[in-house]
Symmetry: C2
Subunit: 250 residues, 2 copies
């Protein structure tokens, strides 16, 4: 791998931590990052509290190429993400004319009240991220992209920023699965990893149709090396009486 | 609230960060914590890398009453959680007799190979957490509970530790929902929050049947105050032409 591009995500919201809402944005962002060759290295879920949000943002924005946030940019009193980002960067925040224009275009006359206008408050120096669902924009400041928590809007916003992200070398992967418990092949897998230090090898146990099974995920940037290791993994499973395959059955 | 008991979760696993596996343990733990009156304050998802795991564990175990981890306690080379916990606490780690006995009882003769025996490596001073699904135990060291990543096993392990956890004052909640966009009631909600500083009020927008709606979640420990605020919230929604209800329709 010649270049590793990294990312972190900060999920902002008491509702995720209380269990009321089950997060669906982490998995979506993870899929997109993998597809464009960006290594998502860390996710933090924090409550709607200024100190926690500011600390999390500042911890990750210094470490990773990109940071993505979800949640807390709506019109209600508990939506404090934009202010926290401004505070984290030490910049001002105010109604931004273009953001205001988008809200004015979206709402019928008289509906853009003071609370909704809060959604046009954008930290100084940030550029807007389009929201094709409900107009109120996200924004990008430095390497931090601030997006909505509602999954349909989050996904739309990820879609609008993705083309501008610079990915690293694309990771290739092969997944070899068998109805063999991972403990039965763990030792040979460890040796295979030693033979292929340039590849990432992960073992993911699961029950498939009630039977202990495992999926071995091999990842790397060199296709020939990857294919050779995947064939070796097929051999290891077969040696244990397994019938390895590469498509999920559950 | 007389006493606040807090918790954090550390999810360990490249497969969550790559998107290959969609986490189901965070939501489960969040539900259980809420049910027993423990305030889940932070979640971190970290890769299978020693430095990252040790740093995350040490950051959260100092701050919160309880810490729960998921993932990385299986038999393969990428399962390094137990060693990381030992390192974080500065204690030794070795095959623990009772853990070994459980594995011996679970596997048929000859099947407890060296890789599987790794699952009996437990940090010095830790107590075991039962695994009724596949025997290999989790463990508790200090305030950190280390559990499996496979959801069925994670849930079983949470079930076995839950009775020993001491919760704080039980939070009561009422959720008032209407097919009214949150921007329409944001200002009045902000005033309601000012009138009830002892309650937590969160607004969660969503599309219900294609219509903009929001759920206002009110939380607190005083039932009379909670009920009064919930009634006021019904009034706010009705004032906007909404027909508020308290059961989810989607």
């Amino acid at each position: 791998m010649s270049e590793i591009v990294t990312a972190a995500m900060v999920v902002i919201g008491d509702e995720i931590l209380s269990g009321r809402t089950k997060d669906r944005n982490i998995g979506h962002l993870a899929d997109i990052m993998t597809a464009i060759g960006i290594d998502l290295k860390e996710v933090r879920i924090v409550p709607d509290e200024e100190d926690e949000i500011v600390a999390a943002i500042n911890a990750v924005r210094a470490r990773y190429t990109y940071v993505f946030t979800s949640g807390g940019i709506g019109p209600t009193h508990d939506d404090i993400t934009a202010d926290c980002i401004a505070k984290a960067f030490g910049v001002g925040i105010d109604i931004q004319p273009e953001a205001r224009r988008r809200l004015e275009a979206h709402y019928e006359a008289g509906m853009l009240n003071a609370a909704r206008l809060r959604m046009a408050r954008i930290p100084d120096g940030a550029s807007l991220i389009d929201n094709p669902v409900s107009a109120a924009p996200g924004f990008r400041l430095g390497n931090v992209m601030v997006m909505a928590g509602v999954p349909a809007i989050f996904q739309a916003m990820v879609g609008s920023v993705a083309p501008d992200l610079v990915g690293g070398d694309r990771l290739l992967s092969r997944t070899v699965i068998a109805l063999i418990p991972e403990g039965a092949i763990a030792e040979q897998l460890g040796k295979l990893q030693q033979d292929y230090p340039d590849l990432d090898m992960g073992s993911y146990p699961a029950f498939r149709g009630g039977k202990a099974s495992c999926a071995i995920v091999l990842r790397g940037t060199d296709k020939a090396r990857l294919d050779a290791a995947a064939e070796a993994m097929h051999g290891i499973f077969r040696g244990m009486g397994g019938e390895p395959f590469e498509n999920e059955i559950v």
